[in-house]
Symmetry: C2
Subunit: 375 residues, 2 copies
């Protein structure tokens, strides 16, 4: 019973922290509840319910599946659902018209054959990368609507009316979703992406400096070696950020201008910066591998290089922090050219001093102009 | 018109290659078509249609949304949908019973308040990582079913019958999906994961060897430097494989025993191997950075180290290939201990010969025992 209790309290703690760390998640839950409560009004008020001919069910379904955490996700799903319902419905009514005229025997064959062919082709098209990124959800809805309308035409008499009702209720559901998502505490995918990139860049700068410091200091205080400073481990977030960067960038493209982000903000540039940062993080990871390696570097080499390496890493991290600040403020930094040059001088100096040392900082040098250019 | 034509033919080519590279994708499209054609039989045969009381629509919907590329994905969605529909339906009928007894004024309030609270709580619970991985889809369906049943109880008289019909048609849809997914050319997530890991391991071995060879040979034939051998770039797949590994491993856990994979196959071990391989790939990436760096290493150092480094990298890649083979055959390799020892000797030798050279191969040494242990 004790382990059970500790498990429950552990879960409770976790949920509490989840909410406390990012209150937007709690707000998101409440927003979904609000949207559903709004849509349920269609059931309670007689004129509204009769207006959509009892098909209010579709509005509820639309709200449940379209409402996403970010505004971009909501717009992506809503627009996809709207367009897919419209085109699939029109196509299905065309097939229905043909099937209806072709007599008893051929009718089910035509219906099923058209569903079979369209569903197969649409499913296959989901494997095409560009379609997958932009219209994956739309294709599901396309297959769904087409199958429903084309097949149920066999049993339902007033098919056009049914399709019209479905379309208008879906539109109502989408409208309610957009309303709640955009006007009640909106969560913009674009701002999230912007924040993710700048925060990761700061982390990278910290851990670059931290690892080099660790490397050159861990012999004096041997116990410190056991626990690498927290700062120097921050780059690990950068390594695994690819998936979230990609999805946020894709969703950002659906969002209207907001805040400091104008129309056609170059969202895919953020992905390039992310890639450059990951490349930089790989080097930090390799550097960390050397630090933790069991074979120690001889003391005299270390001492000889200590000052210049620490200087170089702090230059590097200054460049990173400066570019992160210039992204934050969305202005070209005045000092970046100077800082990059200083860093390059440092690299050259290091190289002159010890030509045979293959330090990883060399590869950093190639990455940084890229980052600076991308910002 | 010419650019238009070339675009269309480019697209055609791309689609053709997509199908030719992985015919299972074409087969998947046909399977979805087949499942939908099967489910449409419910509309054409009068006894079947009457048996489900005209609610055949839900079976069609279930097939469209549950049918996934892999068997694991299909089972994950099907089981989630089944359980969620059952529990949400039962809960909603309970709420309906209470709301029905509480009089005109309170009825809509109780219904909407319960929907608001449950939807908010369920949406928030999706942010808990373990629930997100295992039950994300189930929670969507839970909210959907609960809202539909609880709210439409206000207008529909025979609610229990409606819920029963919905449950049985959903079950039919899930059953058809499972049938087609498992028995018509199944695509197992587990086998895919297995193949992905072994193939990536081979690629890593190739590119490790390739990069080191490139590094020591590119000065003799200077033009080769421009085009690094294709082999040595193969490790890039490993860098970005995390997302697909994770999703395949999660889906594999839903699959029944198949082929050489017994019940409770340790799927999460594959994720550990993947992480170790990515760590290894970071080192290769850093090594490549050194190769492409503008500052060349002095000739004499290179010559001195050339033979031992090439030897070491080939040992390393032998170890990788051996573990990949032992994973493929699912047997402990007899030669792996010997190979690892040989490689470790090589590392020691390299270290003895040149203590001040911080070659990246050192960090490789730490990774490999991990890989060997994980296999």
């Amino acid at each position: 019973a004790n382990t059970m209790r500790s498990k429950v309290s552990g879960l409770g703690n976790m949920v509490w922290r989840l909410g406390a760390d990012d209150p937007r998640k709690v707000v998101h839950g409440l927003k979904v509840g609000l949207a559903l409560a709004l849509v349920s009004l269609f059931y309670y008020t007689r004129p509204l319910y009769d207006g959509v001919g009892g098909a209010a069910m579709w509005a509820v379904m639309t709200v449940v599946v379209v409402f996403e955490f970010t505004v971009g996700g909501c717009l992506y799903k809503g627009i996809n659902r709207g367009i897919a319902t419209l085109t699939a419905g029109a196509l299905a009514i065309g097939v229905h018209w043909i099937a209806n005229k072709s007599g008893e025997t051929f009718e089910p064959i035509i219906r099923s054959a058209s569903v079979f062919m369209l569903a197969s082709a649409a499913t296959f098209s989901r494997f095409i990368p560009t379609i997958k990124i932009k219209f994956d959800y739309g294709i599901t809805i396309f297959i769904l609507t087409f199958s429903l309308v084309a097949v149920s035409g066999y049993r339902v008499d007033k098919l056009i009316e049914l399709a019209e009702q479905r379309l208008s209720t879906v539109a109502i559901g989408i409208f309610i979703c957009f309303l709640v998502a955009i006007f009640a505490f909106p969560v913009w995918a674009g701002s999230d992406l912007h924040l993710l990139i700048t925060r990761n860049m700061d982390k990278l700068a910290d851990s670059l400096e931290g690892s080099v410091d660790d490397y050159f200091s861990n012999d004096q205080t041997s116990e410190k070696e056991e626990a690498p400073s927290k700062k120097s481990q921050a780059y690990k977030c950068v390594l695994n950020a690819k998936a979230s960067e990609d999805s946020l960038a894709n969703l950002s493209k659906w969002e209207p201008p907001h805040g400091r982000f104008s129309f056609r903000h170059p969202w895919s540039q953020y992905q390039n910066i992310g890639t450059a940062m990951r490349y930089c993080a790989y080097c930090v990871e390799a550097l960390n591998g050397c630090i933790n390696s069991e074979i120690p570097t001889p003391e005299f080499t270390k001492k000889q290089l200590s000052d210049i390496c620490i200087q170089l890493s702090s230059d590097c991290s200054k460049v990173l922090k400066d570019s992160s600040n210039s992204i934050k403020s969305m202005q070209r930094s005045g000092s970046i050219d100077f800082l990059v040059e200083e860093m390059n001088n440092g690299v050259q100096e290091l190289h002159d001093r010890l030509t045979e040392l293959q330090t990883d900082d060399m590869s950093l040098r190639e990455v940084l102009p890229l980052i600076a250019a991308a910002s």
